[in-house]
């Protein structure tokens, strides 16, 4: 079973790569009960974030949701 050392904000754990065989050194993976279940799509993550950031930048001062 292919395995990797994965760091979770400081903690390092042994994780199985059985379901994400394409994962390699430096990748970000989603881990559930000791198994990687996806490789975080960095392009998608950055694209989404940029869109959201633009939205945030447009409205620096916001009214409270509703009173």
């Amino acid at each position: 079973m292919r395995a990797a050392r994965v760091q979770f904000g400081g903690i390092v754990r042994q994780v199985s790569l059985s379901f994400v065989p394409e994962a390699g050194l430096g990748d970000y993976v989603m881990v559930h009960v000791g198994f990687a279940i996806s490789r975080v799509d960095s392009l998608e993550a950055e694209r989404t974030y940029k869109l959201l950031e633009e939205m945030g930048a447009l409205e620096p001062e916001l009214p409270p949701a509703e009173e």
Binding site: S18, V40, T48
Partner: protein, 365 residues
């Protein structure tokens, strides 16, 4: 941490919330299926950022909460046998059975061990050949491939002292059951991102076709959830009902194929009882005939038990989104995480526990 901090950005969250306010012209009832999402909502107070008309109701997506009482009782019964080592995810230990729980059984001398991963259960079996190791294999689709892997590995190694007490549930049949219920109020669903990471999105198309209800696959950080709410509101306000994927950084349409393969090799779809909800047709997984040698129900000849929940616990309505935890007279008084009446007060994914940790002071005043 990368891919986490960005999705906790307060500025973006506020911008999303304000966009939701602007888009909302009518009241809408939305349900987040997964208990992990419920905890994010409570922890960050996301519901308080939303316009008053938008109500978030919490769904049944807490694996520990819906594991049948009978399964908990069986696990306790097995754990108390001197020849058995019962291995479980940590969340299950305080879940009340009808008379006891696994933690109390452990205090009485039962060999109950906590595993972080199912592979640890296999390891325990390997190093204790004279004991019978039973793994309490519970969960949704997210956990099923890992649990399947444990049975697959045990079979491949020819282990004869390893078995699983399986209680596996599936999300789409539960949504179907909610939708056909007379009491349903939900108008849009946030589908669980990690379940969909494994099984993909295709199973949700049928629900949209049959019920004309918008479904957005959502992630677990505050920004993810607010964006998913915005996507649902946009659809509802425009009179649309389609499948959208907010959690694109993890979820693909077809899901994780190697994980689906091992799931299909080891498990088959079967009718399943959900604690608090009842039996839902074709809503669970059981071990295939090829894996019957690893089925604790067969090996130990465990009878079918029928047991009742404590009368005061309203977890049945909480799990179906009909009541909020704070509607319960026992909430925070006779029912706390230390002394729970029902499973949703125990689990880190339970709605009652989320309200207890993040809202009980607001409730008390």
């Amino acid at each position: 941490m990368k891919y986490l901090d960005e999705y906790r950005d307060q500025r973006i969250a506020r911008a999303l919330a304000s966009e939701i306010v602007q888009r909302t012209t009518r009241p809408w009832v939305l349900m987040e299926i997964c208990g992990g999402q419920t905890h994010t909502i409570m922890r960050y107070g996301l519901d308080e950022l939303l316009p008053r008309g938008i109500e978030l109701v919490h769904g049944p997506g807490c694996p520990v909460c819906v594991t049948p009482l009978e399964t908990v009782d069986k696990a306790i019964e097995l754990a108390l046998r001197p020849d058995v080592i019962l291995v479980s995810y940590g969340d299950m230990l305080r879940v009340p059975g009808s008379r006891s729980d696994l933690l109390r059984a452990k205090a009485q001398g039962a060999d109950v061990r906590i595993a972080y991963s199912p592979t640890e259960a296999v390891k325990i079996a390997r190093s204790n050949p004279d004991r019978k190791v039973v793994f309490l294999a519970i969960g949704f689709e997210t956990t099923a491939p890992a649990n399947a892997m444990a049975a697959w590995q045990a079979k491949r190694e020819g282990l004869t002292n390893f078995s699983m007490l399986v209680s596996h549930v599936l999300v789409p049949p539960a949504i179907r059951a909610l939708m056909v219920s007379q009491t349903n109020r939900v108008q849009g669903f946030i589908a669980p991102g990690h379940v969909c990471t494994v099984v993909g999105c295709k199973d949700y198309e049928g629900l949209i076709r049959d019920f004309r209800i918008p479904i957005v696959v959502g992630g677990f950080e505050p920004v993810d959830i607010l964006e998913a709410v915005l996507m649902l509101v946009r659809q509802l306000e425009a009179g649309e009902a389609k499948l959208e994927n907010q959690y694109v950084r993890s979820v693909s349409y077809q899901g994780n194929l190697p994980a689906q393969q091992i799931m299909a090799e080891v498990f088959e779809v079967a009718d399943q009882k959900w604690r608090g909800i009842g039996s839902i047709p074709q809503s669970g997984l059981r071990l295939r005939e090829d894996y019957s040698a690893y089925d604790a129900n067969r090996i130990f000849d465990l009878g079918e038990l029928t047991v009742d929940e404590p009368a005061e616990c309203i977890s049945a309505q909480v799990l179906q989104g009909l009541k909020k935890p704070t509607d319960c007279p026992a909430f925070g008084m006779r029912c706390t995480p230390e002394n729970p009446l029902g499973a949703p007060m125990v689990s880190t994914e339970g709605a009652c526990a989320a309200y207890y940790h993040y809202r009980r002071h607001a409730v008390a005043t």
